[in-house]
Every structure is written in C-alpha cells, then in structure tokens.
C-alpha cells in the first residue's frame, strides 16, 4: 500500500467523521429524524473497500456504513438528503430510513433493503449464487454486526455459501454491542471468526482500527472468492463511539469507565500521526483535507436543507411492475 493509498483512506475517514458529526448534531437539533453513527467504524470500512473493486463487486451493507458509502463514491449531499428524507435521495426516494434501499445498479451495486438485522446475508448469498451460475467473477460482500451473528439466518447463509463455494465475504464489524446487549450475553465465545470452522471456511479476526490489516484480510478473502474457493468470514473488531442510534442512551448500560476507555484510541488521529511520521502528511495538507471536508459538508447541509420533501404523487408506484396485475400507479 502506497502513501497515496493511505492518504486517500485518511481523506475518506476525515470526510466520514465530519459528515457523521454533522448528522448527529442535526438530529440533536431536531432536523434529522434518526441517525446511526459510524464513528469508530471508519477505519474498518475504508480498509475493506480499498481491497475491493467498487465497479465489479456487490455490497450488501447495513445501516452503519456511512464510510463505506463515501468510499464507494456516494456523495455527502446524497447521504444528507437521505438523513433528512428529502427529494432526490438516491436509495429509496426517501421512502426508507437513511442508508436504506439501493443505489442504481448502473452506478454501484449497493443494496440495503431493510432494517431487519441479518436478512442481507442470505440475500447476498443468493446474489453470489447468481453470479456463479452466470460465470461472472465478482465478490459479494455481506456486512453485519456482532448482533446479527446470533440470528438463525446468519448460520444458514454461511453454511450455504460454504457448501457451494460462493464468492462471498462475510464482513463482521464487531463493536461488542447489539444495542445494549454486550458480547457476553450474545455468545459464550470470544471471537465470532471462530464460527467459521464450523462451516468449513476460513475465519479471521482483525483489529478494525487498523485499516491496513483490514485491507489485507479482505484482499485475501477477495482472491479466494474470485478463485472459486468460496467464502471467508472476516471479523473486524471496532468500537461504537456513540450510542446505538440517536434514540439511544448508552449511559444506561455502559459503565462510565468503559465509555471513557473506548474513546482513548481513535483511528483517525492515529492515521494522521502515522502519515505525519512517514512524511506523507504535513500541516498544509492536513488543513486542506479537513478544511475541504468541512466545506463539502457545509455545502451539502445547505443544499439538503433547501431540498423539498417528496410529495406523494408517486405513492402507488413501484408496488408492482408497471402495467402488471395489481399495479395502481
């Protein structure tokens, strides 16, 4: 990985954090209805995308993938339109929660239909099965949290993908909490990656604060997938810096020491330090990166706030295929 690569990752992480803070703030001001923050997950998300091909691969994300979206080229304005449920939102026409729906396939194959945890895993497996049947060489990445690992469907998805050697990467962002439920009440093991053995696939646990480690693990998994050898479970251990969502209050269930501890190490300043020490980053460049993130986010905020809410004129559209029985549009 070159300094240029590292710098680009850094730029995306800074942009993500800036945007994330803005959205959180807008929620607190009553301007955004609900927000799930990616703060603490940025390094893992940016490292994973770096190892993949945004044009070739398919991304079955979940709601905490703000950095992933930015790394895949979705703009802050588009994302903000989603958070404000405004017209022009690119995933669902503002029919859905922020980050839910799908990006036009001609642009990116990013899908996150639903809020229902873990449903995307079986769907991602079906997507990969279709690619395999057609002989298309693509990787499908199924993103999920530690909480999703408890769902029966997650078991079924891993099992099927491994039986059929499907080109899937199961990418787990383990932030040690499913809303308020800590790992110790979710499982009697230390590492989710340890489950991989039971499906006959490789599993690897990595430090999700280290984007290069994530890049390497996902890269290896992608090579395996593209070679037809089957799926891999990659577990990136991260921290959730903020409450589960803007509706949550994590002081109810996380001890004060823990809340203090998790903020002690932050992958973004860590990356800054690394880049500065290698000489790739100096004050001027860092100012440019942070300043431009701020500018982009400010402009996007203004534009998104000025956008109208969608009117219900197309309310009955896309229930069924146009002209098909049941179509009321």
């Amino acid at each position: 990985m070159t300094d240029a690569d590292l710098l680009e990752m850094y730029r995306t992480m800074v942009l993500s954090r800036t945007l994330d803070q803005r959205i959180w703030q807008m929620n607190r001001q009553g301007r955004a209805a609900i927000v799930a923050s990616a703060q603490g997950h940025e390094a893992a998300q940016v490292g994973a995308i770096r190892a993949l091909d945004p044009e070739r691969d398919r991304f079955y994300i979940y709601y905490r993938e703000l950095t992933t979206m930015l790394a895949l080229g979705i703009t802050p304005l588009e994302l903000l339109l989603g958070f404000l449920a405004k017209d022009g939102e690119p995933l669902s026409g503002a029919r859905q929660f922020p980050l839910h729906g799908a990006i036009d396939r001609s642009r990116r194959d990013i899908v996150s239909f639903s809020n229902v945890v873990a449903t995307q895993l079986l769907q991602a497996v079906g997507v990969a099965l279709a690619d395999k049947m057609r002989g298309e060489k693509r990787v499908t990445v199924a993103y999920f949290g530690d909480g999703a690992s408890s769902m029966g469907e997650t078991h079924e998805a891993m099992n099927f993908a491994s039986i059929h050697h499907l080109p899937v990467i199961f990418f787990c962002e383990n932030n040690k909490y499913a809303t308020s439920v800590p790992l110790s009440r979710q499982m009697n093991i230390e590492s989710i990656a340890a489950r991989a053995d039971g499906y006959g696939m490789p599993g690897i646990e990595i430090d999700g604060f280290d984007p290069v480690a994530v890049y390497e693990a996902v890269g290896a998994a992608a090579i395996r997938a593209l070679s037809g050898d089957g799926p891999t479970l990659v577990e990136a251990v991260v921290e959730r810096f903020l409450p589960h969502t803007s509706d949550d209050d994590d002081t109810r269930y996380r001890p004060p020491e823990e809340l203090e501890d998790i903020r002690k190490f932050d992958p973004i300043p860590a990356m800054e330090k690394l880049l500065r020490s290698s000489g790739a980053l100096d004050d001027a460049l860092d100012d440019e990166i942070k300043g431009s993130a701020q500018k982009i986010v400010n402009q996007a905020t203004e534009d998104a706030e000025n956008a109208p809410f969608p009117e219900p004129h197309d309310f009955y559209e896309q229930v069924y295929a146009p002209g098909s029985p049941g179509d009321q549009s």
Binding site: R95, F97, V116
Partner: protein, 327 residues
C-alpha cells in the same frame, strides 16, 4: 384516579404481575439495563434481577421458542419483540407451534405465554418500524390477540393476558405509548379478553376500530356530533376471539357500519368484521358496510408527506362517515 400514559400502564402491569407471581419472567432484546427501547421494562431488572429480566441475543426465533419452552415447563414468560416488524422470524414458533400445543397434545401441555409487540406507524418509522402485523396472528385458532387503545385497557388486558392459560399476542401501538393518557385506578383490576367496548354511544352510524386510530374515530365522532351525526364507536380491544355480539348489537341499533384500521385494507381485520355484519346483521343494514384502512402499498414510507398519505386521519375518517351517514 391518576392519569397515566399507555407505556406507564404497560410498565405498571408488568411490575405488579411480577410481584404477584414468581413464575412470571421477561425476555427480549434490550429489556434489561436499557429498560426496553420504549422503556416498557424500565426499572424491572433493578427490582427483579437479571434472572427474571433476560436480555436475549438478537434472535427473535429464540425469543418465541424459548418463551414457549419455558411456558410449557410451568413458567409464565412475557416476551418482548422489539418492533412488530421483527416478529417474522418468530412466527414458526408462535403460529406454527405455540398455537397448536394444547390442541396437538390434547391438553397434555399448554403454553401460557405473552408476546408483547409494539406495532403501528405514524412515528416516522418507515418501512420497517411501522408495521401492522395482526392479520397473521388473528387468523390462527389457538392464539388470542389483544390490541388495547387506552391506558386503562392496556393495564387491565395485559394482566389478563399474563394470567391467561393460552398464548396471547399483546399488541401495543407505539404511537399511543406517550400520546394517549387516561385515568387508571391505583388498585388491582383486570379487563377481560374477548370483550369489546362501546367507547362512545351513538345512534346514526357504528364505527368499529381498535388501536391508535380508535382515537381518531373518536375525534371524528366529536367533529361530526357538531354536524348532527351521532356516531357510535366500538373498540374491539381483542382481535381473537372477536366479540361479535357487541359489534352486531351496535349495528342492529344504528343500521350503518364502518370499520376503520391502520393496517392495509385487502385481507385486513376489517374484512372479517364486515363479513360478520353482512351475514348476521344483513336485515338490519340500511347501507353498504364500509371500510377505511391503510392503502395497498407494502408498508409505510419514511418521508413525512408520504407517511401522512398512508395514515388514516380524523379528517379522512370523518369524510367517510359523512358519506355513510348520508347514504
């Protein structure tokens, strides 16, 4: 009589029943220190300990199946599904299993469990935090399905549900949690399952409803009273078994019937009520049986104008009643 909210009524019922009966316990996601995402179980883990207030992994089939097993083995579990939208992984255990335990063992085992299910929209919940899911459950013999609209009924019916010897699906409309307030006596009382209530007496039109939109029906009735239309509003309260007697008595009196629910229309509960009226009150009817219900789209959208388009409102309901009254 203190005035409390629906969520306070639910919490009070849970606490009192846990105090009364040591076999009552709770399981669900985030119901422990978090107190439930709606704070229905706030304070319970502190009072009863984590043995009786169990934070489960994120796994709804587990919540249904483990509650069922514990119920069969002498306990009275009260399980929470965090949002109704997430109940589908549990239906194999609830519709497939719990509903049939008594019948399929010829009474050798029973399943006295309660599944509390926050449901419904108008809360900016979008496609996956707004669902009405009553139809699949209300259709299944062996289950009881309860859907209170007021704090009084919520508390009294939840106590009845916990003491009931059969599996009960207890539907709590999320929008009523903090919006709807009402008087609730301090002492012990229950409200019987399977009994509807006339929430407003009237002579011109019968409106049958339940849940959040019951209140919208009452609002509409108040508006129409000023216009000289006297609306009787029947609150079903229980969706299985249906109290058809109360519904039919009302329709026989007014000769005009309308059903109002938030759930989508085709195949909704309203169809069953209309069918019962069309069969057993046919001779009394002076007008078609009408329905006001959610539109035929897969779920409630997120953006505010879209959500408003979905929801029945007092105005939409009043307009429909006006038409029926004029028939």
């Amino acid at each position: 009589m203190p005035e409390i909210t629906v969520i306070e009524a639910v919490r009070a019922a849970l606490r009192e029943e846990m105090e009364r009966d040591p076999t009552v316990f709770m399981l669900g996601e985030d119901i422990g220190k978090r107190g439930g995402v709606f704070l229905a179980t706030d304070g319970l883990i502190e009072q009863f300990g984590e043995e009786r207030v169990i934070d489960t992994p994120l796994a709804e089939a587990s919540i249904g199946g483990i509650a069922l097993g514990a119920a069969v083995n002498g306990m009275r579990p009260v399980a929470e599904i965090e949002f109704a939208d997430f109940i589908w992984p549990a239906v194999n255990q609830i519709i497939g299993e719990a509903a049939r335990v008594r019948y399929g063992t010829h009474g050798r085992r029973t399943a006295p469990l309660v599944l509390r299910v926050p449901y419904g929209g108008g809360v900016r919940g979008g496609l996956f935090h707004s669902q009405s899911i009553e139809v699949a459950f209300a259709h299944q013999p062996g289950l009881k399905v309860v859907a209170p609209a007021t704090p009084y009924d919520a508390k009294g019916l939840l106590k009845s549900a916990i003491r009931d010897d059969d599996p009960v699906i207890f539907l709590e409309h999320k929008r009523t949690y903090r919006l709807v307030k009402g008087d609730v006596p301090d002492g012990e009382y229950t409200v019987p399952i399977g009994v509807a209530e006339v929430k407003r007496a009237g002579s011109d039109v019968t409106v049958v409803s339940y849940g959040l939109v019951l209140h919208y029906c009452l609002e509409a009735a108040a508006t129409l009273a000023e216009e000289g239309i006297d609306v009787e509003v029947v609150d079903l309260r229980t969706l299985r078994p249906l109290d058809t007697d109360t519904v039919l008595a009302s329709v026989r009196k007014t000769s005009k019937a309308m059903i109002v629910h938030e759930d989508t229309k085709a195949g909704g509960i309203g169809g069953e009520i209309a069918a019962v009226i069309a069969e057993y009150a046919f001779e009394d009817l002076d007008a078609p049986v009408m329905r006001v219900a959610g539109p035929e789209v897969p779920a409630m959208p997120f953006s505010p104008l879209l959500e408003a388009e979905f929801m029945p409102s007092p105005e939409k309901i009043a307009a429909a009643i006006r038409k029926l009254a004029a028939y």
